[in-house]
Symmetry: C2
Subunit: 449 residues, 2 copies
Amino acid sequence: MLRADQVLADAASLDAYAHDDAEWAPFEPPLAVVLAEREEDVSAVVRLAAASGLRVVPRGAGTGLSGGANAMARSIVLSLERMTRILEVNAAERYAEVEAGVINDTLREAVAEQGLWYPPDPASYRISTIGGNVATNAGGICCVKYGVTRDYVLGLRVVLADGDVVSLGRRTAKGVTGYDLTALMVGSEGTLGIVTEVTLRLLPLGGREDRAIVGSFGSLTAAGVAVAEITAAGIVPSALEIIDRTCIEAVDAWQGLGLPHGADTMLLARVDEVGAAGDELAASVARIMTEAGAMSVEQAADAADADRLFLARRLAYPALERLGPVLTEDICVPRGRVPEMLARIQATAAANDVVIANIAHAGDGNLHPLIIAPEGDDDAKARAKLAFDRIVDDCRELGGTVTGEHGVGLLKVPGARAELGDRVIELHRAIKHALDPLGILNPGKAYPA
Amino acid sequence: MLRADQVLADAASLDAYAHDDAEWAPFEPPLAVVLAEREEDVSAVVRLAAASGLRVVPRGAGTGLSGGANAMARSIVLSLERMTRILEVNAAERYAEVEAGVINDTLREAVAEQGLWYPPDPASYRISTIGGNVATNAGGICCVKYGVTRDYVLGLRVVLADGDVVSLGRRTAKGVTGYDLTALMVGSEGTLGIVTEVTLRLLPLGGREDRAIVGSFGSLTAAGVAVAEITAAGIVPSALEIIDRTCIEAVDAWQGLGLPHGADTMLLARVDEVGAAGDELAASVARIMTEAGAMSVEQAADAADADRLFLARRLAYPALERLGPVLTEDICVPRGRVPEMLARIQATAAANDVVIANIAHAGDGNLHPLIIAPEGDDDAKARAKLAFDRIVDDCRELGGTVTGEHGVGLLKVPGARAELGDRVIELHRAIKHALDPLGILNPGKAYPA
């Protein structure tokens, strides 16, 4: 039974839970907010909504960047942020079972105590929940070598659209019994069921040694060449990130890190092989950067030094948010098209008279152009939206996909319509209808309905 | 248009295509066999079947071990074995696009020429097709470190139940546009659509050095302890296989390899880290084997020597097939339950008076008890089936899953019914009906209908 303090309907709460971090996407205040504490609470809300013709908008920490947790008319926002129990960490079998509201970093720390590692590291890892990571199939910096959330989800507990609860997947290392409903649920943004518990595959914590190599380049193109050459050399770095001049200057103005001011682009790489093999790989990466025309290349002496070199990357997003509301893009192009895509983004910024900063998981071709409009400038906001659409179109022209790791939510619905095509959208609709015939679970998200 | 030589209806052909390698599962001769050469052929057959109320049984090389390609009443077997074009190998983006009938090993060789590697290596890799591998989500020896087929499938071309063709997934490194219909198709055994083309993620070929370590143990339990200790040490071997005394003797009797005759169990490990790190890991594995009570431990001096040490593993299945028809089990238990499960299998063999040999991907907990009945001995065959069911029940009692990598097909339908439960089976049925409302695509397979 829901206690009174689990149900919020005051104006401030309805406002606070009306949207996630994609405030540029449409939203309406919900009718109520429910803070679920147990699976039974989730079931109860879904049953009530089904009976009353209401919609349920599931929500983790609200750090989503595509509007997947934005509220809508006749909706109840169902927050799982209080479901924070770590149910089991099994070192022998290398899995953890957690409730959906556990924070990504809390999980990482808990499993580290037992010598285990949970790799997926979205930028929001200190504040986002595992349930939200699963709903959006979140990525991160280490994906280039270690894969995304889906690659670590072995099984799920899911509340279905009629309030029934099912266990999907397994705890064993392998298993192919029936359809892969676990994978279908991952990334479905709460439109097919509400994930309450997650069983995650873990890796051993040890056996890796972090080495960072950072190059400063005079142009995005030169950095792009270095990325292509690193890939062509058969090197799989554990991170390969780009930040551009706008990011560098924003971080420097904020934190005064003494970043290379003349530099147009920084390319930040990590390798994690151990011993001499790691030394050789780091040296190869540094050599490739130099040969691609880096103005300077710095290698970290140890893990703390590596973290220092990556600090500019970690601070880039908050540094840019200080400049005004940020409309965050998330596209993924073939690795070889990264320089061309970055050039097009620069042209789009100029054509629409907007500031666009670039953070990129370059090793994956996953780019995050960040479009910044000054606070309260509606005209700039309109131009930012035009730039957003142009970038999505360009990405598709270059063989890319309209969302690499943030999800379709609401912001990428038009792009998804173009990318998927009518027949594949029909498949989505058929599956949605099969699992949620009343259409009460987060309708309008995840695919063009 | 189908040419006359693409449509077979003679008795010998109907017989040859009536079942896959799971002849113990039920089958009936098909009405006809169609040898598709292009996507259009697949579409045409599906449309014809839909119009005529016939069923379509897709088939690759017919090496399946669960009966997924077994023909049924009113069925057309649709073989994709002639669709063998390698459409693209893209070294810069590290993917390959191939038709479904390409042989796993052919793909491996083709991409190796460009410095790339396709890891999944089912035992049938020399003869099975990529389409079949995708349909069953095939595993193999290297999965313990490198994952299964699904982990490498980026995108698919699929003929739907109405003959329409869709492209699912992507070619980029990441992407979360819409539901993961690619993952839903992988392992669905042709019941939701027929895969005609596959886009596969590849790894760099280099950067690995094979080292093999083989220990002979006096008991399964001792080998099981070594497996648990290797895992607990945070080592992720690139292979960790067990073969038991029955396998050892069968291989030795056939090929006279001079295997350790007194040994009850061989534990075969590989690590592939380079340089000193690889040497240290190999030494650690050898030390753990010795401490767990190995009678002898042998380390390969080089790659050729490593292949020699693993030859007994590669030859085990064909060596056992010489002894009589083999009923192949495929269960997966938590790694720590491997010794207990192996002990129960031995007890089941004794209780049912059947010969059971054991091959196990021990590092994954994925066991293949091979139940052997003498040719023509119907009573032994009946006892073998009883043993098969007992093993499935035991696996579930130990927290395992009824199929680790071979698929449900027909053989594991009863086990899948128990494992999935009514509500999850309903979800399967709803999705199947959404995508194949007439139920013409390989009905009765993959889940309990």
